[in-house]
Symmetry: C2
Subunit: 361 residues, 2 copies
């Protein structure tokens, strides 16, 4: 209501570089240079500017900065949703790293609403963000090419690029699945059900392959009726588990492609009065925080999610700041976390000694 103050008095909350310049008695370009750490500024001038800025409580306007050719110091983050623990962990890592380098985070959720992905991505490239972090994006092909043409920095997390020309951070999905399957086999299981993830996501395929490879290496014939297609969500996990348990000769163990599916499986087993792990062994994948909270505590393949986030963030920032665009790929190794959801099959004896369930009530 009272904005007709003379230009000399500084309107609180609207301090610009010009105000700082006036107070410091230098030109605004000098202020800009000081604030950006430009080296050819006399030390005394630098101090004057810094003091003035401090005194006025100057805070740069990022929008103007980025418009003028600077960077926006923001990183776009495209995630499927926040409701699965998995993403939360990755974001934690990203967030820590990004804060360290003083970037901001622009959060976009696609909520299974794939149509939006592309338009979000485009928006980001138009000045909003300096780079993009894509967590298990679904329809990459649509915009990967656009990103590359624009020479826009981005890193894919836990998803692979069909053209193999993107920077990627993921983990050893194949090996993790192999390990988990082998673990079950060594416990004595031979009928091991497998609940896949959403098959359009690359890691889902890798996990399936790892499972098959382990079976083969242990001379267990692959039985396609033991493999049912899920989508990484508990509801599907529940349904898949039911299908599996309804089989004429049901599996004695189920390997779910992620923890959420495993939770659905636990639920299904419990609803049938099956005891876990006595009647059914279950292994998950991811090791989200909830995995150790469920009962029985879930044996699962751990992905270093937060670390993946951290590394992806660092890679992206490096690409942004050093303008390097040669795609790099970092694959972190998974680790089998043995908890209480597995035991030798009822009646069967573990051929190699086996691992009795530890802990429990």
């Amino acid at each position: 209501m009272d904005n007709h103050s003379k230009k000399t008095s500084v309107d609180p909350g609207k301090v610009t570089i010009v105000d700082v310049a006036r107070v410091a008695g230098v030109s605004y370009s000098t202020v800009s240079r000081v604030l950006n750490g430009y080296e050819f500024v006399k030390e005394s001038t630098r101090q004057k500017v810094l003091n003035a800025a401090e005194q006025l409580g100057y805070v740069a306007n990022q929008q103007a900065r980025s418009l003028a050719g600077g960077k926006s110091r923001a990183i776009g983050l495209l995630v499927p949703g926040l409701d699965n623990g998995y993403v939360g962990e990755i974001i934690r890592g990203i967030d820590e790293e990004v804060a360290k380098y003083d970037y901001d985070l622009l959060l976009y959720t696609t909520r299974r609403n794939t149509g939006k992905e592309s338009s979000y991505v485009l928006k980001m490239t138009r000045g909003l963000a300096d780079g993009l972090l894509l967590i298990v994006p679904l329809v990459t092909n649509e915009y990967i090419e656009a990103l590359q043409n624009l020479n826009f920095s981005y890193v894919l997390i836990d998803q692979s690029d069909p053209t193999d020309s993107s920077s990627i951070v993921d983990s050893t999905n194949w090996q993790g699945a192999y390990d988990a399957t082998q673990y079950l086999i060594e416990l004595g299981h031979t009928r091991i059900g497998f609940i896949t993830g959403l098959m359009s996501i690359h890691s889902a395929g890798d996990r399936l392959d790892g499972y098959r490879a382990a079976l083969q290496d242990h001379n267990i014939p692959y039985d396609s009726t033991l493999v049912v297609e899920g989508d990484f969500w508990p509801e599907a996990g529940y349904a898949c588990a039911e299908a599996l348990l309804d089989l004429p000769e049901p599996p004695t163990a189920i390997f779910a492609s992620n923890d959420l599916s495993a939770f659905g499986t636990i639920e299904a087993a419990r609803d049938r009065g099956l005891d876990i792990p006595r009647d059914l062994s279950i292994v998950g994948f991811d090791d989200i925080p909830q995995a150790s909270l469920v009962y029985p505590q879930l044996t699962t393949v751990r992905q270093p999610l937060d670390q993946m986030g951290r590394i992806a963030a660092r890679m992206l920032i490096e690409e942004i700041e050093e303008h390097r665009h040669s795609p790099r790929r970092v694959t972190l190794s998974t680790q089998l976390i043995v908890r209480n959801s597995c035991s030798p099959p009822a009646g069967g004896t573990p051929p190699f000694g086996g691992f009795p369930p530890t802990g429990g009530i």
Copy 2:
């Protein structure tokens, strides 16, 4: 490398309003008006512009837009961290609502690093965001005043403003705690331990008050040794539970101020070989997704977290778009969710009938 193309050919990925204007054969101000839904534009012109924009794949540069006095269409989100389920749920709600109105979300995590809150908040007000959503912020007083002076829109979620002049969305913390405590009392418990939250957060105090009120209303003398101070994290919950269980006359039930603390309590009880609920009943608060995953499933007070987020987002957007700044307050009601972590105290008989634990293994 090849940017010396004539101004007539449109550099892909750098389409501006001017390009659209040229193609549409109108002035760029007209394009701006069409794109902003200004009403006095001839229908045929509008179509020409829209077609041109579509054809060129024009995407507005938000930075420029907001610099020029428009809005940034971004909402700042200040959260303590993503690692507690609680915040995740609230964000889910916010995100859904915000997407509906086509705003972007700027995510800031304070990670128990309170020093940063103020500087983040300041940054937001300098053009970055149109409004601010603060989820259980810790040091409100520092910047609330600044926000008000700047006439900057913001909404507090689950935290109260000492000066009572902010828009707030929260839930009936007092009543929720009262209900939970009463539930335990009706089960027959008289020695009910209480683990507080971080007392600098307002709701922590409300919950404590609700607990005390319920005791008083049921003529159970308040015993301060039964109340220990936690901080909403499982580790503290664990420690507090230990302190409580080490008491000469330990409680038969513990009411933890949030689910995370309750998880710590469960752990502590289990580590002592106590059976839940037989030896110790436990109630939490929040009903985060994990509450139904733990064993035994946690009886808790449900806060409609996602709804709180949704409502807060809507309130904020209204304030931004309608320039209303009269603080409003919405308090959603909590609800006791009875699951399997409570039973009458061992040996005692519930005076009012009581609720036997349902489900179980």
